[in-house]
Amino acid sequence: MQTTELPDAGGHFGQHGGVFVAETLVSALQTLRDEYLRARSDATFMAEFRHELKHFVGRPSPIFHAKRWSEHLGGAQIYLKREDLNHTGAHKINNTVGQALLARRMGKRRVIAETGAGQHGVASATVAARFGMECVVYMGAEDIARQSPNVYRMKLLGATVKAVHSGSKTLKDALNEAMRDWVTNVESTFYILGTAAGPHPYPMLVRDFQAIIGEECLWQMPELAGRQPDVVVACVGGGSNAIGIFYPYLQHESVRLIGVEAGGEGVLSGRHAAPLTANAPTGILHGFRSYLMQDADGQVLATHSVSAGLDYPGVGPEHAWLKDTGRAEYVAIDDDEALRAFHDLCRYEGIIPALESSHALAQAAKMAPGMDRDVILLVNLSGRGDKDINTVAAISGITL
């Protein structure tokens, strides 16, 4: 696992990040930071993390050359980092394994989590079962309706799923409610935050646990394609899968990094979840500063995306920093484009991608035709789409 200078001691990535929480949580976050820094340099802890990733998660995940789809698009070669093949079907498990090991190290027997699409909820419920911990997952009522298979999965795994009816009834409200639970039960409870956002140290530790994705690519790409990719593409909601694949590539300056936000009904429509692409101003939500979709009075705006996992008004602070420095580029893909890529990957490659990942696929599909055939695009296929089949069927006018 790598370390760089960022974040600074206060958790800042340039002007972003930091710790903006109620006083009751400050000491819990400081304890978590100290414990994580100790764990990160503890060979036994890291060996156990690697062992779990290999034997429980099934890592390394392969990289697959999507030849037929690339041929069909008629340009650059698209390679897929198959995080969808992980246990529980998405990259989320990398982080929950790491955080569950930390929780155990800190003697916490109860874990809580927020979830949007349900992937992080399932991954949290899974590790809670694996390590014998009580698990409560907060999920927006609207997301419960559109992700029912994942809700049942969490229940099968022994977790309690609590519906959140406040606000927009989606991911941001689930996060509010998880924070309220944490502030109430701070001594007994470990909060497994699902994305590279939230107060310090979460953006740092989630990035570090997810960096395994990019670290594997660094040795897999030369093996499979003879060299590193020209472009790495990943979808960005909070941004954990993207930072996981970007981070080890940051120092490889010839590799372009492209984060793909949810364009919803189009960035110009205002009905989207793309704060970076829409040039949203900075704001403070959920314990950190970053670019945030908000009105002129600083009230957080409701977001819109076909994909529950990208339906978030903010973005992890390191992505905001990477945008400021220009090291990564951020674009938006709207619902229709993502759905087209979803169907294309099913038909051309026999892979059903998550709607979140379909945004990254759609960006690759947009770029590939205009590029030479020897250009390599590496897409982080962050999750599988079985959870989305009801949504896609409904959009296609089909009743299952």
Binding site: N176, R180, V183, E187
Partner: protein
């Protein structure tokens, strides 16, 4: 000397404890807020906490979440909240007003612009829940005559208390329990112990809030605190009252708490 310091000095001289009610600006209706503030003062409030509504009130329980939603549905903005304070000040030049809320509306307005506008409106103190001392623009606020009110909690270490004590002014606000506003599990004996510790570190008056829901608890807390803050319960009283009875309902409720606090002080004096 600011209005907050002056108020606490006067109360101490009179042997009284401060009663600080909280209401969310714009709840239940924006046109009622200024009248509500006057009614609270009339009923015996010494300082006023005026909540700035926010879309994501993470530290608040259900009652204040609903109050925030009602205010936002009525279109209340930070600028309007400041106008309400300006209007309140035309008739009341002595009662301190503390704005309480979350950081983002201030971040959006701009820190300097906010500090200027708040001072002009007649705001005395600012308590932003998610704005800890490490990130705080305290000098900017202090330069505009705004007291920086900080929270202390059951999980605050002695080391942090010293840091906060250095940066705080006006008074410090002890969050009496681990949880959100409006919870039910306050334990006066535990609170007493913590306040004794705070007093060894910090010279400012100590207010206690989160979990004070009736006169009995307010009295128990006021025996060792300088101020009691009551929020969720007042919001619930307003919520359950018909619109035309809101003012009488909170006036009566706050007056009862005031009487209970003053009576207890008198009892203690007699016993002494």
């Amino acid at each position: 000397m600011g209005r907050i310091e002056q108020t606490f000095r006067q109360l101490r001289a009179q042997g009284k404890k401060a009663l600080i009610p909280y209401v969310t600006a714009g709840d239940p209706a924006p046109q009622l807020t200024v009248d509500i503030l006057h009614a609270l003062v009339e009923a015996g409030a010494n300082l006023l906490e005026l909540g700035v509504p926010f879309s994501d009130p993470m530290a608040d329980g259900a009652a204040i979440q609903r109050a925030s939603e009602r205010a936002l549905a009525a279109g209340v903005t930070l600028r309007q909240v400041l106008h309400m304070v300006t209007e309140f000040r035309t008739k009341d030049k002595v009662t301190p007003v503390i704005l309480m809320g979350y950081l983002n509306p201030v971040e959006r307005m701009g820190y300097a612009a906010f500090a200027r506008s708040a001072q002009q409106a007649g705001v005395d103190g600012v308590l932003l829940v998610d704005y800890p001392p490490e990130e705080h623009h305290r000098h900017l606020f202090a330069d505009h005559g705004l007291d920086n009110i900080f929270l202390l909690s059951p999980t605050t270490t002695a080391e942090r208390m010293r840091l906060i004590a250095k940066q705080a002014s006006g008074f410090v606000y002890y969050v009496s329990l681990k949880g959100v506003t409006g919870s039910h599990t306050l334990n006066p004996a535990e609170v007493a112990e913590r306040i004794a510790q705070i007093r060894t570190i910090c010279d400012l008056p100590v207010g206690v809030g989160f979990g004070i829901r009736d006169a009995e608890t307010a009295v128990a807390i006021a025996r060792f605190a300088d101020a009691v803050v009551i929020g969720s319960r007042i919001v619930e009283e307003m919520e359950s009252a018909p619109r035309d009875e809101v003012l009488t309902r909170i006036r009566d409720w706050v007056r009862d708490v005031r009487h209970a606090l003053d009576q207890d002080i008198n009892l203690e004096k007699e016993q002494a």
